[in-house]
Symmetry: C2
Subunit: 315 residues, 2 copies
């Protein structure tokens, strides 16, 4: 059976991962998620991107709010506030179960990948979801306020500080997950997709793990990247704001340049078709597709377009 690998951050990536999961034969999809957003909060190990992908693949994510679990309640968070504990990170009552159970597994000596596998099995996720590494990598945002841990920048400060750069603490010493690297060498691997996730803080933490970029380049599987920028805005999150602050044009063209030398096929949104002529990357093919995924049908359609383009069958 041919295999597909998706590299994903949180919400945007999870949408495409779900689309792929729904149209691919069971057992063919592996999703590798960014863990550089992970942090410890109130003693709990929290993995926002892994959880977003896991909840999305399990069909229990909240689609209105865009993160967390559907039908969530907030009693514990409310009580934490009454006790004077930090409340800036939203912890739903049912979401807390994930954090508590995973933290207990980790403290008992389990690995993040092992804990993820058990959580996914309990939630009925059929795709294989892997953390990019079992070793800690932590995104630090260099900004006007100094260097902020990612969740403090992203949630507590709501991306207000002006970004100057990023540092991925622990990345150089981290090992990419062995199952991830093994898949890159698997002859059955027929497609690699960089999901429409933030290139700076969701994808770069994965790409910069020792050996990953080389293994991606060495893999005979075609590597697609779906633009997270459509027109002059990011579909989700602070990618566009970061581009402005980093002095880059807010355009899919900046993403193309970011992935130069790595990606084989860049997927522009069909509304950005006119950009295709402006992209001069001899080693990169550009295609257009409907990348804005509002409905479940949108997610499946984009997955089908990518699979068809890569010559793979889809349901």
């Amino acid at each position: 059976m041919k295999k597909v690998l998706a590299l994903s951050g949180g919400v945007g990536g999870a949408k495409l991962a779900l689309g792929l999961d729904r149209v691919l034969p069971g057992g063919s999809l592996t999703v590798v998620a960014n863990t550089a957003d992970d942090f410890e909060h109130l003693g709990l190990y929290i993995a926002p991107d892994l959880d977003t992908v896991m909840y999305t693949l399990a069909g229990i994510n909240d689609q209105e709010r865009g993160w967390g679990l559907a039908g969530e309640s907030w009693q514990c968070l409310d009580a934490l506030g009454g006790l004077g504990a930090e409340q800036w990170f939203q912890l739903g009552d049912r979401d807390l179960a994930t954090h508590i159970h995973r933290t207990a597994m980790l403290r008992a000596g389990g690995s993040l990948s092992g804990a993820t596998a058990r959580l996914c099995a309990a939630l009925g996720v059929s795709a294989r979801l892997l953390p990019m590494s079992d070793d800690p990598v932590r995104t630090l945002v260099t900004c006007s306020e100094g260097e902020l841990p990612f969740q403090q920048y992203f949630v507590r400060e709501q991306c207000r500080p002006e970004v100057r750069g990023f540092r991925f603490e622990g990345q150089a010493a981290a090992s990419p997950l062995p199952e991830f690297m093994a898949l890159l060498e698997d002859p059955a691997l027929a497609l690699i997709v960089i999901c429409p996730s933030n290139p700076f803080v969701s994808v770069d933490p994965i790409l910069g793990l020792p050996g990953v970029r080389q293994a991606l380049q060495a893999s005979p599987a075609p590597l697609y990247a779906v633009s997270p920028i459509v027109g002059d805005r990011a579909l989700k999150g602070p990618a566009a704001k970061m581009m402005v602050e980093l002095g880059l044009p807010v355009s899919a063209v900046s993403v193309v340049q970011h992935y130069r030398g790595l990606v084989d096929t860049f997927v522009l949104d069909e509304s950005d078709a006119t950009l295709a002529g402006r992209i001069e990357e001899p080693a990169m093919r550009v295609m257009t597709a409907p990348t804005v995924m509002k409905t479940l049908a949108d997610r499946e359609q984009l997955a089908r377009v990518l699979l068809a383009d890569a010559g793979m069958p889809a349901a």
Copy 2:
């Protein structure tokens, strides 16, 4: 201002502690709670007796169920079950906030007494609530199944195993809380009350801490003990069942013998008045009082009777 010290386990003790708190001038009551029931569960530090007393003094305990918080919800516990985590210990969503916040304070290097003080301040508890020790003491129940940690015996096994004895791991090496010992030497201390708590697993862990029994005996303050046994049953919990299994008559008389040489005044329930003539303890005075506390008025009344007997003013 005259001071009062109450030694307490969970539910039964908390009732009298609340009565004392309500009729005493502010700042005069200290409650020392058993911590040998404490345990770590799913990575959270849980202190059942401290919490019961704290919630009761804060007026937020559930009076129907007898433990935990009023108006509690169970979303996290339900989700934990779905994830395959242990569910035998009931964790309410709002109660979880206490465990999470305290565990985080402890992991950050705080003491149990410091964490307790912060939780009590946040919840508006005016009495001073102290853990018996900042050091770990753990009750192990020797029973037909071997040696069980207390919460496994009490909650998971619902007190079904036959008790042969108890061991308080860590007790000999634990220091009683300095504020507790200082109060026992405080000339303002005018009354010490052993609340109607389980003598074996709630009070003995406190009494057996190094130096506590001697300090109680040395204190000029009169030491009262309120019987947790009325007639041939325990007002709450497994005390009566334990007495049967330990070969003791189920009667307040067994409690009298348990506290021989320590207690100055033993408080029988008024329904047990006929027992008074059967108690031959030259060093112990026996009095009767309405000890069955069903209503808030009952709690206050018992507190007033004790304070009046000890010559202390009450509101």
